[in-house]
C-alpha cells in the first residue's frame, strides 16, 4: 500500500495545553538521556507499570509504546519495524514492540543511539519493567527483546482482574485478587530496591498516589466538560494529553498540567469556543489513533465532523475515600474500584475492563454522538478486540452509523489516503441523514 506520502501526517491541536505536550515530551526524553549519560540507570517500561512508584525511586524511564508513537509521528517507525521483521518478528505483532525491537537491533549494530533516532532516542536500559494488563505483547514483547538483545534484569508485574459476570462486591473474590495484586506491586518495589539500592519511602509514595488521583479527577472533569456542544476539545488533543497521564502520573507537574487543561477547556465551554466554527457531526472514536497520520482528525473537521470523545485512555470516575496511608494497598484498591466501574457498565470483553461496550453505548448517549468510528488497528488485537461485538450491540440497542477504519497505530504501510477518504466520505453521507435528529 502506501509508500506514497500521506496528506494527513501533520495535525493541528485546538487547545494550547495539548500543544504544550511536545515540549514536555522533549524534556522527558532529554532527562532520561542525561540520566543515562551521567551513569544513572534508566528503565524501559510498558504502560501499566505505576509511574508513581518509579517517581518515588527517582528512576528515569523510557516507554517503548510512547517511543512507537514518536517514531510513527516522525515517519521512522517503518525503518525500525523492517529491521525487526528481518529478525523474524512477524508483521502481525504489535507495531510498538516491533519498533522497539528494530531500535534495539540498530542500536547494537552501530554501537549506540542511532543518530537519526526521534526525540534523541531511548537510552539503553539498565532494567525492564513490564506488566500483564491489557495484552500479551506487553509481557511477551519485553521477554523477546530482553532474550534477544538486552539481557537486563526484568520485572513483570502481573495484575489480574475478574472477567465478565463476576460479582465485584463479593468480599472473598476481592480478597483473592487484592492479595495477589498487592504482592505483585510489592514485588516491583523489592525489585526496584534491589536495582537502585534505595528503600521505598512510603510517605512519598502516598503523596504520589494522591497526586495521581488529583490528576485523574481533573482529567475526568475534562472528559465531562467535553459533553458540551460545540465540542471544546477534540480527540487529537486528548491523545496528546495521555503523555502526562500515562508516564508522569504521581508528579506535581502532571496535576498542574491537567489543571491548566481543565481551566482552558472550561473557558472554551463557557465562551462556546468550538473546535470548528460549524460543528455538523459529533464522532466517537474507538481505538488507538494512527499516530503517523494524526491529521486525519483535522480532515474530519474540514468536513464538519469533530471527534468529540474517544474510549481509549478513558479515565473512569474518580475514586474517593481510599486510605492513602498504605499506598501499595491503595494502588491495588484503586485498580479494583476502576475495574468495578467497568464491570457495572458491562465487561464482557476482558478482565481488564479497558474496553467496555457499555462505555461506548454510554458515550453515544451522553456525548450526543452522530457516528462511531472504530479504528481497527491490525497489529494490536487487545484494543481492537470487541469492536465487532460492540458494533453488533450498537446495531441492536442504539442505532448509530458505524465506520470501521482499518490501519494501524504505528505502521503506515497499512494506510491508504484514498481508501480512508473514500470510507469517511461514504460514512459521513450516512451520518448526515441522521444528524439532524440530535438537534
Amino acid at each position: 500500500m502506501s509508500e506514497e506520502k500521506s496528506e494527513f501526517r501533520k495535525a493541528v491541536r485546538s487547545t494550547e495545553t495539548a500543544r504544550s505536550v511536545n515540549q514536555i515530551l522533549m524534556d522527558w526524553y532529554s532527562k532520561s538521556l542525561l540520566a543515562s549519560k551521567e551513569g544513572r540507570p534508566v528503565a524501559w517500561c510498558m504502560v501499566g507499570a505505576p509511574p508513581e512508584i518509579l517517581k518515588v525511586f527517582d528512576l528515569d524511564s523510557s516507554w517503548p509504546e510512547n517511543y512507537g508513537t514518536a517514531c510513527a509521528a516522525r515517519q521512522m517507525a517503518v525503518h525500525y519495524m523492517q529491521l525487526a521483521e528481518g529478525e523474524g518478528y512477524s508483521p502481525d505483532l504489535c507495531s510498538y514492540e516491533r519498533n522497539a525491537i528494530g531500535y534495539c537491533r540498530e542500536y547494537l549494530d552501530i554501537g549506540g543511539i542511532p543518530p537519526d533516532a526521534p526525540q534523541g532516542g531511548m537510552p539503553w536500559p539498565a532494567m525492564l519493567i513490564t506488566n500483564s494488563t491489557v495484552c500479551d505483547p506487553r509481557s511477551k514483547g519485553f521477554q523477546a527483546f530482553n532474550a534477544h538483545y538486552l539481557h537486563v534484569p526484568m520485572y513483570t508485574m502481573d495484575i489480574q482482574m475478574p472477567h465478565y459476570g463476576a460479582d465485584m462486591q463479593d468480599p472473598k473474590l476481592k480478597a483473592h485478587y487484592l492479595r495477589y495484586n498487592i504482592d505483585q506491586i510489592w514485588g516491583l518495589i523489592r525489585f526496584l530496591e534491589e536495582q537502585t539500592g534505595t528503600k521505598l519511602n512510603e510517605a512519598a509514595l502516598s503523596e504520589a498516589v494522591a497526586n495521581s488521583l488529583a490528576a485523574q479527577r481533573l482529567m475526568w472533569e475534562v472528559h465531562e466538560l467535553r459533553k458540551a456542544v460545540p465540542s471544546p476539545m477534540p480527540s487529537e488533543d486528548q491523545f496528546s494529553c495521555i503523555v502526562p497521564m500515562l508516564y508522569m502520573a504521581g508528579s506535581r507537574e502532571a496535576v498542574d498540567f491537567f489543571q491548566k487543561l481543565h481551566d482552558e477547556v472550561r473557558n472554551r465551554v463557557e465562551n462556546r469556543i468550538g473546535v470548528i466554527p460549524e460543528e455538523k457531526y459529533r464522532i466517537l472514536w474507538v481505538g488507538i489513533p494512527p499516530w503517523f497520520n494524526m491529521g486525519i482528525f483535522n480532515y474530519l473537521e474540514s468536513l464538519g465532523a469533530v471527534s468529540a470523545m474517544e474510549t481509549t485512555y478513558y479515565v473512569h470516575a474518580p475514586v474517593a475515600d481510599v486510605d492513602l496511608s498504605r499506598p501499595v494497598e491503595a494502588i491495588a484498591e484503586i485498580g479494583w474500584r476502576k475495574a468495578s466501574q467497568v464491570h457495572t457498565l458491562g465487561a464482557e470483553l476482558s478482565t481488564e475492563g479497558l474496553f467496555s461496550p457499555g462505555l461506548v453505548l454510554k458515550f453515544v448517549r451522553e456525548y450526543a454522538i452522530d457516528g462511531v468510528i472504530f479504528h481497527r488497528v491490525l497489529s494490536c488485537r487487545a484494543i481492537s478486540f470487541g469492536q465487532a461485538h460492540t458494533a453488533r450491540r450498537l446495531r441492536e440497542e442504539l442505532p448509530v452509523p458505524v465506520l470501521f477504519l482499518e490501519s494501524d497505530m504505528a505502521d503506515p504501510r497499512t494506510w491508504s489516503d484514498s481508501r480512508i477518504k473514500g470510507s469517511i466520505s461514504a460514512f459521513l453521507d450516512i451520518v448526515d441523514t441522521g444528524a439532524g435528529k440530535r438537534a
Binding site: L93, S139, K140, A147, Q160, G187, R376, F385, Q387, H389
Partner: protein, 381 residues
C-alpha cells in the same frame, strides 16, 4: 512392507472424525458435559464432579463467516473457528464451559461466548502471567473456586477421595499415552504421528475411563509389532499451540517426514507431566496445570534456555528437525519464534516455521516447503 497400521484399532480415527458423537449420546442420557479449552483447565475436576470433560475444538478449514459478525478478523482463527461452532449451535450439547485466561484471544472468547450463547454454566479460570509462590497460590485459589462452582452446578461434593480417584484415572491415561509416545522413540516408530494425533483428539472428547479403554486397545493392537513407517522418513518434532486436527501431521508424513514427537496442547504439553496426587490433590493439579505447564502466555524467564526442554526432547526422540506451526495473529507464539529458532539452530536442530490461518488452505505451498525441509533433513547425515 505390510502396514501394521491396518491392524491397529480403527476406532480412534472414527472417534476423531466424529468426535462429538459420544458426548452427545452421553448428554442424551442425562450426563452433564463440560466444554473446556487450553491446557490450564484440569479435566480431573470435571471428572471428579461426575461430569464429562469435553475439549472444545474447531473445524479446521471451515471458512469464517458467522464468527466475523462478533469477532475481529485480525484474531487467531483457531479461536474464532471454535466460537463459530458455538454460534452455529454445534456446541449446544454442552451444559457448560470453562475457559481460562490463556492468551488474549482465548480470554476474549469467554466473554463473547457467555454473552451471545450463554450456557447453563460458564466459569472463567484466571491464570497468572508469571510463576512465583504468590501466583501459584493464586492459581490454587482459582482451582478451589472452579471446584466449588462445579460442585454447585453438578450438585455433588468433590471430596478428596473423588478427586484422588479422578487424578489416578487421568494419570493412568497419561502413563499409557507416555508408553505410546515411548514407542515412537524407536525407528521406525510403532505408530505414526497422524495416528497419535487422532487418538489424542478422540480421547479429549470422551470420558476418561473410555479413553483408558481406547488406549489399552491401541497398545494391545500394536503389541510387539515393529514400526510401520518407512525407515527413510525424517524424524521431526512438531511445535505449536493446539493440534486438534491431524491434517498438518498427515501433510508432513505424506511429504516424507515422521512426526515422532510434538510440543503442542492436546499432545505432550497436556500429557507430559504426570502428577503424583500425594496427600494434596489440589497441589498436584496446581503443579501440573500451572507451575510446570509450558504455555508461552506465561512469562517464565527471559533466558533463551527456557527452550532447552525442547532440545532435550528432540535428542531423546532422535529428531532431526523441528517444524513450528504458527497461527496468524498469534502473539504468544510469534514473539517466541525468533528466539526459539536461534536456540534450536544453535543446538543443531533445523527449524521450519509454517504460518497458517487454521485452514491449511495454502497447503500446496506449505507442502513444498515441508518437502524441501524434509529433504534437507534427510541429507543431513
Amino acid at each position: 512392507m505390510a502396514l501394521q497400521g491396518e491392524e491397529k484399532s480403527a476406532q480412534p480415527a472414527a472417534l476423531c472424525d466424529n468426535r462429538s458423537e459420544r458426548a452427545r449420546e452421553l448428554a442424551a442420557q442425562g450426563k452433564k458435559i463440560i466444554g473446556y479449552l487450553c491446557g490450564f483447565v484440569p479435566p480431573e475436576l470435571i471428572t471428579a464432579a461426575g461430569m464429562v470433560p469435553y475439549r472444545i475444538t474447531g473445524v479446521m478449514g471451515e471458512p469464517l463467516v458467522e464468527a466475523l459478525d462478533y469477532f475481529e478478523p485480525n484474531a487467531c482463527n483457531y479461536v474464532l473457528n471454535c466460537f463459530q461452532q458455538a454460534i452455529k449451535g454445534r456446541y449446544d450439547f454442552l451444559d457448560g464451559i470453562v475457559i481460562p485466561h490463556a492468551c488474549d484471544t482465548v480470554q476474549r472468547l469467554y466473554g463473547l461466548w457467555k454473552f451471545w450463547k450463554p450456557p447453563a454454566y460458564a466459569h472463567f479460570l484466571n491464570v497468572p502471567t508469571t510463576v512465583s509462590p504468590a501466583s501459584i497460590r493464586f492459581f490454587r485459589e482459582e482451582l478451589e473456586m472452579l471446584k466449588e462452582s462445579l460442585e454447585s452446578f453438578g450438585g455433588v461434593e468433590i471430596t478428596d477421595q473423588r478427586l484422588k480417584e479422578a487424578l489416578s484415572l487421568h494419570n493412568e491415561n497419561r502413563r499409557l499415552v507416555a508408553e505410546l509416545y515411548g514407542m515412537r522413540k524407536e525407528h521406525p516408530p510403532a505408530l505414526t504421528g497422524g495416528e497419535m494425533t487422532r487418538l489424542l483428539v478422540a480421547g479429549a472428547g470422551i470420558p476418561a475411563d473410555e479413553f483408558h479403554s481406547l488406549l489399552k486397545e491401541m497398545l494391545r493392537s500394536i503389541g510387539g509389532n515393529a514400526g510401520s513407517v518407512d525407515e527413510k522418513k525424517a524424524r521431526v518434532l512438531l511445535y505449536g499451540c493446539v493440534m486438534d486436527d491431524a491434517g498438518l501431521v498427515d501433510l508432513i508424513e505424506a511429504g516424507g517426514g515422521s512426526v515422532v514427537l510434538d510440543d503442542t496442547c492436546i499432545g505432550t504439553r497436556s500429557f507430559g507431566t504426570a502428577g503424583d496426587a500425594g496427600d494434596d490433590p489440589m497441589e498436584a493439579l496446581c503443579r501440573m496445570y500451572f507451575a510446570d505447564f509450558l504455555c508461552p502466555k506465561v512469562v517464565r524467564s527471559c533466558d533463551e534456555e527456557r527452550f532447552e526442554y525442547l532440545v532435550q526432547m528432540a535428542r531423546e526422540y532422535r529428531v532431526k528437525g523441528v517444524i513450528g506451526y504458527f497461527m496468524a495473529w498469534c502473539d504468544p507464539h510469534k514473539f517466541d519464534q525468533p528466539v526459539l529458532r536461534n536456540y534450536l539452530e544453535k543446538a543443531g536442530l533445523p527449524f521450519l516455521a509454517l504460518e497458517d490461518d487454521y485452514t491449511l488452505s495454502s497447503s500446496g505451498a506449505m507442502q513444498n516447503r515441508v518437502q524441501a525441509f524434509l529433504e534437507m533433513l534427510q541429507q543431513k547425515d
